[in-house]
């Protein structure tokens, strides 16, 4: 039951982009077209799930076991950077189609704060191994959902008459605000 709650909370109620502000850079940068938005979302979900598993193991079997929690940030960021590199090499060797689909989005993920944010939130909330993985999948799907909705709106926006100074990033941020307002409606799903 608790696992389902974590999942729904990560996808809808505490959406990583719209209520934790994690992963805003790709959210603004890659939300022009639905196609690229869904590729990016897919890549991020993949890496989030993997890194949820690995950072949990690192945290419990190395950092806590050897009593060096102050190395948390350094350890997590090294793990994430090398994980992204490794995933990229692995996909290039095994699946050409997948590699072409993800393209340039994979290396960009290292500096996506959603990945490090997930590792930190997971450690802070003391999730179990399974809970942490579900949290990772949920956060990834929530990110994809927000990104794809935003891309859909921005494709329509090309036809709209936006005031000159608000064109570009400004109107995207205002739209994100309205979207966040809509997502607040999900808050009633879970009583914290």
């Amino acid at each position: 039951m608790e696992v389902i709650l974590i999942f729904i909370s990560a996808v809808l109620v505490n959406n990583f982009v719209l209520s934790y502000f994690l992963g805003i850079c790709p959210f603004i940068g890659v939300s022009n077209r639905i196609e690229s938005a869904s590729s990016m979302g897919f890549a991020v979900t993949f890496v989030l799930t993997l890194s949820a598993a690995i950072t949990w193991l690192i945290n419990h079997y190395i950092l806590i076991a050897f009593k060096v929690p102050f190395l948390e940030y350094v350890a997590f960021i090294i793990v994430i950077a090398s994980l992204v590199q490794f995933v990229e090499m692995f996909i290039r060797k095994t699946s050409k189609t997948l590699y072409d689909a993800l393209g340039i989005y994979l290396p960009l993920i290292t500096t996506n704060c959603a990945i490090l944010g997930l590792a930190l939130f997971g450690a802070l909330r003391e999730y179990s191994f399974i809970q942490n993985i579900v949290f990772g999948i949920g956060a990834g799907l929530g990110f994809t959902l927000a990104l794809v909705i935003m891309a859909g709106i921005r494709e329509e926006l090309d036809l709209a008459d936006v005031p000159q100074p608000l064109k570009g990033a400004a109107i995207t941020l205002i739209l994100a605000g309205l979207l966040a307002l809509a997502f607040m409606g999900f808050a009633g799903l879970i009583s914290a």
Binding site: C25, V74, A81, C113, L116, G117, P165, L166, L175, A180
Partner: protein, 211 residues
Amino acid sequence: MPNMDGTNKVGAFGEFIKGFWKENPILVMLLGMCPTLAVTTSAINGLTMGLAVLFVLTGSSLIVSVVRNIVPKQVRIPTFIVIIATFVTMVDLFLKAFLLDLSKALGPFIPLIVVNCIILGRAEAFASKNTVWRSLLDAIGVSLGFTVTLVFLGGIREILGMKTFFGKSVLGEGFDPWVIMLLPPGAFITLGFMLGAKNLIDRKMKEKKKE
């Protein structure tokens, strides 16, 4: 943008001042958006975040520009990230030791400075190519520009959302606080209009120059 790649020579003062308006990290380069939106529920949170970034950016720019000729090109990004993560750990431990309330309010957004693109961006684009002195000026200028913008954004949200500024009451009894300003939508919308206002001012100034 003249010296994004750090090759164009401008005076020391120009290096320092550009971060405030012309190359403002938030309003022009759209870097470091996560902490910008997340922590600016009040002016004091914005100020703390800005100063934390000031320390990390200055420290890491100093070290990066000192070691830039020793580090092999292939491993420079991991090296930079480890340097940055070390400085962030220092800030985090400092805040936990001396300013526990603020540390709790900022939560995981202090450790998230590690992946703040402003810092890696400055390390990669500027400090790895310039002398120690210029890198320091650049780092301090950019992070002060970041701080001022954060305080401004936090100030607007705090005044409209809680009727206070740095904890002091500023609006009278008659004003109903807009709670939405403290919630995520308020952050997005306020920053969106700030970007719009900057574009508008830029355009007006350009028109004036032409006349």
